[in-house]
């Protein structure tokens, strides 16, 4: 029964136990797939920029397309001051995107790091910390006026301010949970319909016939998951740049 458990695909397996000053930092299948994602990204980027030409080749054009996309997102949300943060948003975007896409490879050993809240939360916290640091560096303590609603009656503002603070502090969690929940739900759904294929396909009287329906659903779901993998990477990068905008331009 354990093989049919849709949660089994998220299991963390320790590949190489490791411990640093008492903390467990074992190399797991999750870490392995993050590194696989790094290798894929590195290959894509190194090949794309190996011989940069004014008239781009296929690899360079593909990389430029992704780069232009990220530049567009940053430019639209942060403006001209956001140029320095394009590499950061680019890194976030491609990392989430490649992790999402690698998890969709229909192979029993494939694993989606972004379906784990620990991973998405760590990434969201990195973005959050950078936003706070950028805000403090750019505006000093003036950055905290971000929580004071402008042009509002002071009594009402005093009431609104805690809400603003909470909504700011909750950002990394919503960012993390959004990605994790989307990835987890999609993979659970795929797995559930996958077990239906086996269960209905091995129906004694008419073998294989009834398995076709869940199989067709799974094909459609795969397309949907591909879309979600892209959209969630985009949303993560988009929200990261919107938060950066708050830190750079305040109100």
């Amino acid at each position: 029964m354990s093989a049919n458990n849709p949660m089994e695909q998220f299991a963390i397996r320790t590949l190489h136990p490791l411990s640093v000053s008492g903390y467990d930092v074992s190399f797991t299948n999750s870490a392995l797939w993050m590194l696989v994602a790094l290798v894929v990204i590195a290959a894509f980027m190194v090949i794309g920029t190996m011989k940069p030409t004014l008239v781009p080749g296929r690899w360079q054009a593909a990389l430029e397309y992704v780069y232009d996309f990220v530049v567009g997102v940053v430019d639209e949300n942060v403006g001209s001051k956001g140029k320095a943060y394009v590499p950061l948003i680019f890194s976030v975007f491609v990392f989430v995107l490649v992790c999402n896409l690698l998890g969709l490879v229909p192979w029993v050993g494939s694993f989606t790091p972004t379906s784990h809240i620990a991973v998405t939360l760590a990434l969201a916290l990195i973005v959050f910390l950078i936003v706070v640091i950028v805000g403090l560096v750019n505006h000093g303590l003036h950055f905290f006026t971000f929580f004071w609603p402008k042009g509002m009656h002071p009594a009402l503002a005093l009431f609104i301010m805690p809400i603003e603070v909470v909504s700011f502090l909750v950002r990394p969690f919503t960012l993390a949970i959004r990605l994790f929940a989307n990835m987890t739900a999609g993979h659970v759904l795929l797995k559930v319909f996958g077990t239906f294929v086996v269960a209905l396909g091995s129906f004694g009287a008419l073998p294989y016939v009834f398995g076709i329906v869940p199989l067709a659903v799974n094909v459609a779901l795969s397309a949907l998951e591909l879309l979600i993998a892209l959209i969630q990477a985009y949303v993560f990068a988009l929200l990261a740049s919107i938060y950066l905008n708050d830190a750079i331009n305040l109100h």
Partner: protein, 160 residues
């Protein structure tokens, strides 16, 4: 759910930080600036090409305007020269005409003068002959020859 297993949190978070650090500081920082430079160079090249094309177009427009102006002045000049030539020709023809007229006129005058002279001479001869004949007639009738001056006066009076 393995996602909410507290034991799974720390190793994954640590490895994410490691992986993201490698991604940002190694992979992206070594490749992305090259791409950015290439894109900037392309933009600059395109802008440069555009401006040089604009300059070439302005130059071509200027040349065309110059050419058109040249053609216009040449046309004006040619027109002026044609008008001048036509006027000169007209003047020459007029002069010729005047010359010819004058020549004809003088010829007519000489001819008229000659004619008048001849006529005067002829009249004089007729006068003499008439006076002679009148003297002969009077001599035959009267036997005496009248004074030639008289006959001559009479002939002149009869002819006039």
């Amino acid at each position: 759910m393995p996602q909410f297993e507290p034991a799974n949190f720390v190793p994954q978070m640590v490895w994410l930080v490691v992986a993201f650090a490698i991604l940002y500081f190694v992979i992206v920082q070594t490749t992305l600036p090259r791409l950015g430079r290439t894109i900037d160079a392309r933009e600059k090249k395109v802008m440069g090409d555009l401006t040089s094309a604009e300059r070439a177009k302005a130059e071509a427009d200027h040349m065309q305007a110059e050419y058109e102006a040249g053609v216009a002045t040449a046309q004006d000049k040619a027109r002026a020269r044609v008008a001048e030539a036509r006027a000169a020709a007209a003047r020459e023809i007029e002069a010729n005409n005047a010359e010819t007229n004058r020549m004809l006129h003088s010829k007519v005058e000489t001819a008229e003068a000659a004619l008048a002279e001849r006529r005067a001479k002829a009249i004089g001869e007729i006068e003499a002959v008439a006076a002679e004949a009148a003297g002969d007639i009077v001599e035959k009738l009267t036997g005496s020859r009248p004074d030639p001056a008289e006959t001559q006066a009479a002939a002149r009076a009869a002819l006039a």
